[in-house]
């Protein structure tokens, strides 16, 4: 049995690290669990160990995480990397596996900082070996200093596509092409949000710098692409697409995809928290108050896991969530909480200003929200978009009823990769709003746990 802890923070990205900083500052011994071997989340992955060469390649936004990482060496913080959380129960008991041993720990307050994951981008051939996400390419760079030196195509839409292009060009990679799928009318649609975005102009200036680097590099840059199809037998060998009705084909040995990120809601879903559909971001987000607190008194959610906000806003949000939690456990008075929160709240408000513009500008191309019938949607169980549409014809009303017809969402990834697409397809096939068809009911464990680990689970007496 493990003793109860006052505050448990899950995830050590910007939100989790900032929350830990606030706990340390308040003298509270928090437990920080993270699945990765080193702290930093995906954005500051392996920053603590990164060489100058790696920092130079990844740029100043990566190195900017260094001050946050210093909290990991704080005396009163119990940082446990390599800890896979697989269940959080509404009473604040957190189950996780570390070094082959499963444990449960009770916490007075739990802050879920499980971050974001890439939005799926299904099209024919996206399951071929050699097709990966742009996030994966960044992880290779951050975690191992590995990059595709030649033969890579970057395809999709969003800031990360351009950032990765800039970083790879900086590392002297010879990119085969950048294929941008941002629909032309997104630019018009985003215009009305531009004034708001200009109030925090840093993002736009960075974007322009990425565009300049890409333009000057001579890398073939196709804009307004649609109808993507990855080709190859046992691995990806090329990408076909259309630009203004004209068919193109680019040979490649690796294809990196991106069309934005979405909150990782597996835990908040599994806890039964209510989620609402964010129409602008086209994703679900848990319903939270201004302190990231949920309807469950012991559970808060901070950072991108509560809605895509970006690293700086996530850091501020993590502070707010921690201060709220510290108040709920009686460590900080309301006055003190509010005093400490003032700075973070101002940063949060400022940093989320450009979101509506970015969200509208990089709204996914309809091709990849409603993939063609022959496209695999559920990668684990190899279920196609056409099969999902067939289920609807047979009377399937929502994602949870697909199990009567097939196995979408029932493989090892537990619906993470296909969930949004399956909801989108069912909603359109039924002709109803997506809110009405809902999302998969997420069942514990939210990460697979072995029978052996489960059998030797150390847990509180009353669990």
């Amino acid at each position: 049995m493990v003793d109860p802890v006052p505050l448990l923070i899950m995830g050590s990205g910007p939100a989790g690290l900032a929350a830990a900083q606030e706990a340390v500052r308040a003298g509270v011994g928090a437990l920080l669990l993270d699945e990765q071997p080193t702290g930093g989340g995906q954005i500051y992955r392996a920053l603590g160990e990164a060489t100058g060469e790696r920092q130079k390649t990844l740029g100043t936004d990566y190195a900017a995480g260094a001050p946050l990482l210093t909290v990991l060496s704080a005396q009163c913080l119990d940082h446990q990397p390599g800890a896979t959380v697989w269940e959080v129960s509404p009473d604040g008991t957190v189950y996780y596996t570390r070094q082959g041993q499963a444990r449960a720990v009770s916490a007075e307050q739990v802050i879920l900082c499980s971050g974001a994951m890439e939005r799926p981008m299904p099209f024919p051939g996206w399951t071929l070996p050699g097709v990966m996400t742009c996030g994966a390419a960044q992880i290779l760079l951050k975690g191992a200093g590995v990059f595709p030196a030649s033969g890579a195509v970057l395809a999709g839409s969003g800031p990360l596509l351009l950032l990765l292009a800039k970083q790879l060009i900086g590392a002297r990679a010879r990119l085969a092409a950048v294929v941008d799928t941002t629909p032309a009318d997104n630019y018009r649609g985003a215009l009305k949000y531009l004034p708001g975005a200009l109030r925090t102009p840093g993002y736009l200036l960075k974007g322009l710098s990425m565009i300049r680097t890409l333009s000057a590099s001579g890398v073939p840059w196709y804009r307004g692409a649609s109808g993507l199809e990855a080709i190859g037998d046992d691995a990806v060998a090329g990408l076909r697409f259309k630009v203004r009705g004209r068919q193109h084909e680019v040979a490649c040995s690796n294809l990196f995809l991106h069309q934005g990120v979405v909150p990782n809601v597996q835990l908040s879903r599994s806890l039964g928290l209510e989620h609402h559909w964010d129409g602008l971001q086209r994703c679900w987000r848990p319903i939270l108050d201004g302190w990231g607190a949920s309807a469950l008194e012991r559970i808060a959610v901070a950072g991108d896991a509560g809605g895509i906000m970006g690293a700086r806003a996530a850091e501020a949000h993590g502070r707010l969530a921690a201060l709220g939690a510290l108040n709920r456990i009686g460590v900080l008075s309301e006055t003190e909480r509010d005093r400490r929160a003032a700075g973070a709240r101002a940063v949060y408000r400022r940093e989320i200003l450009p979101r509506p513009f970015l969200d509208r500008l990089y709204r996914p191309h309809p091709d990849y929200l409603q993939p063609a019938d022959d496209t695999i949607v559920c990668r684990c169980e190899e279920v196609t978009a056409g099969q999902i549409r067939k289920y609807v014809e047979l009377g399937c009303l929502g994602p949870n009823q697909t199990k009567a017809f097939g196995r979408s969402g029932m493989g090892p990834c537990q619906g993470r990769v296909c969930g949004l697409t399956v909801s989108e397809i069912i909603a359109q096939a039924r002709g109803v709003p997506l809110e009405q068809v809902g999302y998969y009911r997420i069942r514990p464990p939210i990460k697979p746990v072995t029978l052996g680990e489960l059998a030797t689970l150390e847990q509180p007496e009353d669990a």
């Binding site: 890439e118 996030g135 290779l140 191992a144 200093g145 590995v146 990059f147 030196a149 990668r379 990769v417």
Partner: protein, 110 residues
């Protein structure tokens, strides 16, 4: 760098070199690499065939979400290669379809 890989490493002599095997072939890795990253750096693209249709798959998300990089690591099947760091002498094998179950050990088998 292994021949045939489109992937290069940044010039970082600081990282310690490690060796592991993949399906019997020796692979050079660096300290801090995940198993999946080391394989990609060495030019490995396919790391399993699926239990559903038997088609080839390789690492996809590299952050523990997609479960595409399931492999056998030091005798344990269906481990996420992106979530395990390379250790010296590690033996890694690709997964062919579903994991297998051995018959019961009869007494004396050890």
């Amino acid at each position: 760098m292994a021949s045939g890989s489109n992937f290069h490493r940044l010039p970082e002599p600081e990282y310690k070199r490690l060796t592991m095997t993949f399906d019997g072939r020796t692979i050079e890795a660096r300290s801090g690499d995940s198993v999946a990253a080391a394989l990609i750096a060495a030019g490995v693209t396919v790391t399993r065939t699926t239990p559903v249709s038997g088609v080839s798959r390789g690492p996809y998300c590299m952050m523990g979400v997609c479960f595409e990089c399931l492999m056998e690591i030091d005798g344990v099947q269906n481990v996420q290669g992106c979530m395990v760091q390379v250790r010296e002498g590690m033996s890694v094998r690709s997964m062919a379809g579903a994991r297998t179950v051995s018959d019961a050990r009869t007494p004396g088998d050890g």
